[in-house]
Symmetry: C2
Subunit: 314 residues, 2 copies
């Protein structure tokens, strides 16, 4: 069984973790958004990649979903005393990741190689790939200005009203080594419940990805439950872009390449409209409150869609 | 009273602290070597400047003389787990200094401005100036290779045999704003017991500094006591360069601009030879084991040489 998960930050990491828990080593490849990556204090920071890695390693902060369990804030507290910028919460353990990544990138190592080595150190048995080794930067075009993603998301608490998104340099970026191959050879691609606009779209917009997605069974899990996002600005973005925030809108967003869609029981009434787009549906509890929920949802997705999509196509 | 101290790291910081304890705000300017500055993990690190600042702020580690009191090592321990380079001991509190300095340098602020702001935050009432806002890098030419100073000093524990030193880019570097003025207007310049070769020579070798030193009373304190250095490779360097490591050799090293010299009681027998070079001498206990010793030595220097050098010249 070859499964590829596409993921952004916290929500995506949870389902990726569920899949990691039920699949054997070698069966799962997680492709992670790097459009949120940025440089802060001279350090190369990959927030989504770190969230996915920390989560799969079982060392993430269970309360926040991002950052490290048992994190401390010695450096940040001292930075504050020096009048430093503290809007991006750099924990001490997390800082070590950024420092080592920055050093290795400066030495010429690829983000893919660095991530592979970190995963080995963290005891992760599955493959985690950054979407690209090239720099792609998500720019949020708001009513009044253009903001880098972290400026919009963390510093401004996603309050500015969104008009559109630009993935800077994406036309010149290549998917990281292994990304197109993994997707092309996948028995099933699972789009995790991440933000469609700023977590999944950057991956899908990389040259070649959309095309290869059309040739394999693709199942997405709605990040919108009952019209709101579990976390983050997904629902707010749909609204500001003039689209009703709903599971249906997410399915429509992905419809070019979508074969199956997972929606929450609370959204069961949308099932027939989604099916009318030619998309198979699974209605279940999709809110993942603990590691057991993640495993449960991953198992249901595998069981349900393997029969209906993979065996049909094979 | 206008006093300028020239200082490198730990030994220099101790006497600078002694002077800071007995002088009023506005009376003391400490000019600090930045030839040891380097970039590590993408961070701009100024080891001597930090040692002097931490010492004058009373927040340095009294056991080591460098680094911070109450330091913790969360980041470094985590870096080690990731296989990172840990030969340079980056403490958590110390890291905040490097991060904020790096951020501000990237924004275009000068090291002089950043140091001034840090000093204010740390409650330092005297002026601390980096020797230059331009990059000057001390290169240690050893028997077999050329090493950056930190590589030689920290990574190789100053074991390679020294042949000479190069202060890269020094001919194009300018003394930081205020350095030449402070020295030129000084009632007395005190060369702290720092390494002559790699702490004081970079300062003195900056364009214009040697010339202005010749016009003011200059007193040095020997970093060599009884033929050995209190700390670091000063004595070893003299030996490897074919010079007997002694207080006399230090005085001879500075003789172009030296008016007074302070040697330890253990070296009293050298007094007449130093005086024969036309240099006034003070023989006293020069080993500074605690803050009281620093204050004591600074007071003796001030009392003895003000009469003999400054009043003579005024």
């Amino acid at each position: 069984m070859k499964i590829v998960a596409l993921a952004g930050g916290v929500g995506g990491a949870k389902l990726a973790d569920g899949l990691a828990l039920i699949l054997q080593p070698g069966e799962l490849t997680v492709v992670v958004n790097t459009g949120d990556d940025f440089e802060h204090y001279g350090l190369k920071i990959s927030p989504d990649l770190d969230t996915v890695c920390y989560t799969l390693a079982g060392i993430s902060n269970p309360a926040t979903g991002w950052g490290r369990e048992g994190e401390s804030w010695r450096v940040l507290a001292e930075l504050e005393k020096l009048g430093g910028e503290t809007w991006f919460r750099l924990g001490d353990l997390d800082l070590a990741t950024h420092l080592e990544r920055t050093l290795r990138l400066k030495k010429g190592d690829l983000l893919t190689e660095i991530t592979r080595d970190f995963c080995r150190k963290w005891g992760i048995r599955h493959t985690i790939l950054p979407m690209s080794d090239d720099t792609v930067s998500t720019i949020v075009i708001t009513e009044n200005e253009q903001l880098s993603f972290q400026e919009y998301f963390v510093h401004r608490h996603f309050q500015p009203v969104v008009k559109s998104f630009v993935f800077e340099h994406i036309q010149d970026a290549k998917p990281a080594d292994g990304v197109l191959e993994a997707i092309g050879n996948a028995d099933m691609v699972v789009i995790c419940p991440s933000n469609p606009w700023v977590s999944i779209d950057p991956i899908v917009s990389l040259p070649g990805v959309r095309e290869v997605l059309k040739n394999v069974p693709v199942v997405a899990v709605s990040p919108i439950i009952g019209g709101t996002a579990v976390k983050g600005p997904a629902a707010k973005m749909f609204q500001e872009l003039g689209i009703v925030p709903s599971a249906f809108s997410v399915a429509e967003h992905y419809k070019d390449f979508l074969d199956g869609f997972v929606i929450d029981e609370i959204d069961a009434k949308m099932e027939e409209f989604i099916q009318a787009m030619g998309i198979r549906t699974l209605v279940t509890q999709t809110l993942m409150k603990n590691r057991n929920d993640r495993e449960q949802l991953a198992s249901e997705i595998m069981a349900y869609f393997i029969d209906r999509l993979v065996r049909r196509i094979c």
